[in-house]
């Protein structure tokens, strides 16, 4: 799908006016942790051994998944029990193979956090997007909202939870790096501060002309993600979605912050006005009637 331009907004006075002022946006400040922790995955270094996948399962005590025929082969997609995954891409007409490590992107402006009605998904100071199972009501709006299809559901359970990569928040709190990064035998997964990892990625591109696609995936996508990628083949051929630098949360949060109260207030005022007008017309010259008619208007505005 093409990147959506906000040209469409030229039709909406209110929305356009609000979105025009980029800086005066409270919704923007709330999720930005541009220098939290991050991981840089370099698929030119990856050998596809899936040690990261195993380490993730071990640390998080996630059971292996049996494929068709009951064989415990490697899973092909993220699931409630598989939070990270090595996938292999071979673009059509090319002899090159390329690896891709999948897991939660830990967006700087996470759609899932913005979507969750009960705050079950939250972003920590370090940039990890984490889940509070006690709050979750199982509406699955996070699954629908996530541009990367990361949150998964325990479909076999009677009372299922959402499950996804936690950035190994329980290891981070103890000063350890995420299990996948710690397990990688070839240093394909670097863990560190986001700014320094971006600098490192830029160095690798600069010092190895022709080796990498000149793009750090995740640096700007959707306002930035904590997972950063370097690749030797174009990212769309790896299966990563082509995304703009505008956070998907922005429009939604601006409309929620300003649109909702404005709609409530203006509808209440309009109704009050109409009611006042009509009642007054009926009451004619009777002053008492006109006085009483003003009350519902005031009450409605307060309620909104």
């Amino acid at each position: 799908m093409d990147r959506r331009s906000f040209l469409k907004l030229s039709g909406v006075g209110l929305g356009a006016a609000l979105l025009g002022t980029k800086q005066a946006d409270p919704a923007r400040a709330s999720h930005a942790h541009s220098n939290g922790m991050a991981m840089l995955y370099d698929n030119t270094k990856c050998i596809g051994c899936r040690a990261c996948q195993n380490a993730c399962k071990e640390w998080n005590r996630n059971p292996p998944e049996a494929g068709p025929g009951g064989l415990y082969d490697a899973p092909t997609e993220l699931s409630a029990d598989t939070w990270t995954l090595i996938q292999v891409a071979k673009p059509e007409g090319s002899d090159e193979w390329a690896f891709l490590k999948r897991q939660c992107m830990h967006c700087l402006h996470p759609a899932c956090v913005s979507a969750c009605p009960v705050g079950a998904l939250q972003q920590t100071e370090q940039g990890a997007v984490v889940y509070d199972p006690d709050r979750c009501i199982g509406c699955r709006y996070c699954m629908v909202a996530c541009p990367f299809g990361v949150p998964k559901f325990e479909w076999e359970e009677t009372l299922p939870f959402i499950r996804k990569c936690t950035f190994c928040i329980d290891r981070l709190e103890d000063g350890l790096e995420p299990a996948c990064a710690a397990a990688c035998p070839v240093g394909a997964i670097a863990f560190g501060e986001r700014d320094s990892l971006i600098a490192e990625a830029e160095d690798r591109i600069r010092n190895n002309p022709g080796k990498y696609v000149n793009h750090i995936y995740g640096k700007d996508e959707l306002g930035g993600t904590s997972m950063l990628y370097l690749s030797h083949i174009p990212f769309e051929e790896l299966g990563l979605p082509t995304l703009g630098s505008e956070p998907v949360t922005r429009l939604s949060e601006v409309i929620a912050t300003y649109g909702t109260p404005s709609v409530a207030l203006s509808v209440a005022t309009l109704l009050g006005g109409l009611y006042y007008g009509f009642t007054r017309r009926e009451a004619g010259a009777e002053e008492i009637g006109a006085e009483e008619a003003t009350r519902p208007e005031e009450r409605e505005v307060e309620e909104a």
Partner: protein, 377 residues
């Protein structure tokens, strides 16, 4: 419609009862066995038929707030004759939306988390939708209450509610406006997933407009069908006025839809997207253009069959739209396909059946329709 003249049960009635009973049983299975066992939902399609049910029946039930706006705010007394059946239908519509919503919640036993202020995420349109559904259902109960209280002859309570009628109606309209538009706002987060024929920053406005004409069309539909079924004389003039309003709203909607695509330079998508283009065109033709013609022609909107078919077309168009946005035009993460499980269909059908049955019961035991000899309204 449901009972014969002699009061014996008709076949239709038995089918509705059977559907409701089967649905209830399947509903119990869903709570015992979980969503995975009773639906075809998956990680690729986390939302399915039940979400479609909700986003369709919420605007359909908007007839209640549109009619109560006209009766109370404009103080148009003549609309009181259809206000009660329409508000009743709206209430039943919401009641079963709540039932389906609970069914659809994976962790339904925690639904009360939405009411805990320290959990509230004010950025979430799912939060706004949930709050509005909860409060508005309460308001509809208060709007339906006078009919029940009149029947029970509880004059005291009735006397307490009466003066609040206008306030209740006003609050209902404010909540509905928020709620219908926030249903569209749910999809603002998905510019990369919802097809550009449907994704636009104007989604809340589109959904609100659709609720306004969809709700009024349902009001027309309920009035024509129920007055005919229960053999009441119906003043067509009222409905003709409503139909005229609907045709204007449909015109606005058409301008919004086409103008939005035109401004975004995406009008070509109307033809280039294969079956998605067809889906879009089907909604525009069946749900917008045909009813504009039907309701725009005085001769058509003055006849009960013209009113019936016009309203039916609008509702079909709305159904197409509300199947497209949360399901058909929303890109799935994997390559899987989704077709609802028979249990999903059964539960949805049972809710519709139970709604019709309860409407029938209410009409027979409560003063819903005006009696010719007395002033029941």
């Amino acid at each position: 419609m449901i009972t014969t003249k002699e009061g014996r049960l008709s076949v239709g009635y038995l089918i509705l009862v059977a559907l409701a009973v089967i649905g209830l049983t399947v509903g119990i299975l869903r709570f015992v066995n979980g969503l995975g066992a009773t639906t075809n939902l998956s990680d690729d399609y986390p939302w399915g038929l039940w979400i479609v049910y909700d986003v369709f029946f919420i605007p359909v039930s908007a007839g209640a707030f549109m009619i109560s706006a006209v009766t109370h705010i404009y103080n148009r007394e003549e609309y009181h004759t259809i206000a009660r059946p329409v508000v009743l239908a709206g209430f039943l519509g919401y009641l079963f939306v709540v039932v389906i919503l609970l069914m659809d919640l994976g962790r339904w036993h925690k639904f009360y988390n939405i009411l805990i202020p320290m959990y509230w995420n004010l950025h979430s349109f799912m939060f706004e939708v949930s709050m509005c559904v909860t409060i508005y259902t309460g308001i509809l109960i208060m709007e339906v209450a006078p009919a029940i209280l009149e029947r029970l002859k509880w004059q005291n309570l009735l006397g307490m509610i009466r003066p609040l009628t206008v306030l209740i109606a006003g609050a209902g309209i404010v909540l509905s406006s928020l709620h219908q538009s926030s249903l569209g706002s749910l999809f603002l987060l998905m510019p990369y997933k919802l097809h550009p024929l449907w994704w636009t920053p104007l989604l809340p406005l589109m959904f609100f407009t659709a609720a306004a004409f969809g709700g009024l069309s349902m009001a027309i539909f309920v009035a024509v069908v129920s007055f005919r079924a229960f053999r009441r004389r119906l003043e067509l003039g009222l409905l003709t006025d409503l139909a005229k309003i609907v045709s204007i709203m449909l015109g606005i909607y058409l301008v919004l839809k086409v103008g939005d695509l035109l401004l975004a330079g995406e009008l070509g998508l109307v033809l280039s997207e294969g079956w998605l283009s067809l889906l879009f065109l089907a909604e525009m033709v069946i749900g917008v253009i045909v009813p504009i013609i039907l309701f725009g022609t005085p001769k058509m909107r003055e006849s009960s069959s013209g009113l019936f078919w016009g309203a039916a077309c609008v509702l079909v168009g709305l159904a197409i739209n509300r199947t497209s946005v949360p399901l058909l035009a929303l890109k799935a993460t994997g390559g899987a396909v989704y077709f609802p499980h028979w249990m999903e269909f059964t539960v949805a059908a049972a809710c519709v059946a139970a709604g019709v049955l309860l409407f029938d019961l209410a009409v027979r035991f409560l003063p819903v329709f005006p009696e010719p000899e007395t002033e029941a309204v």
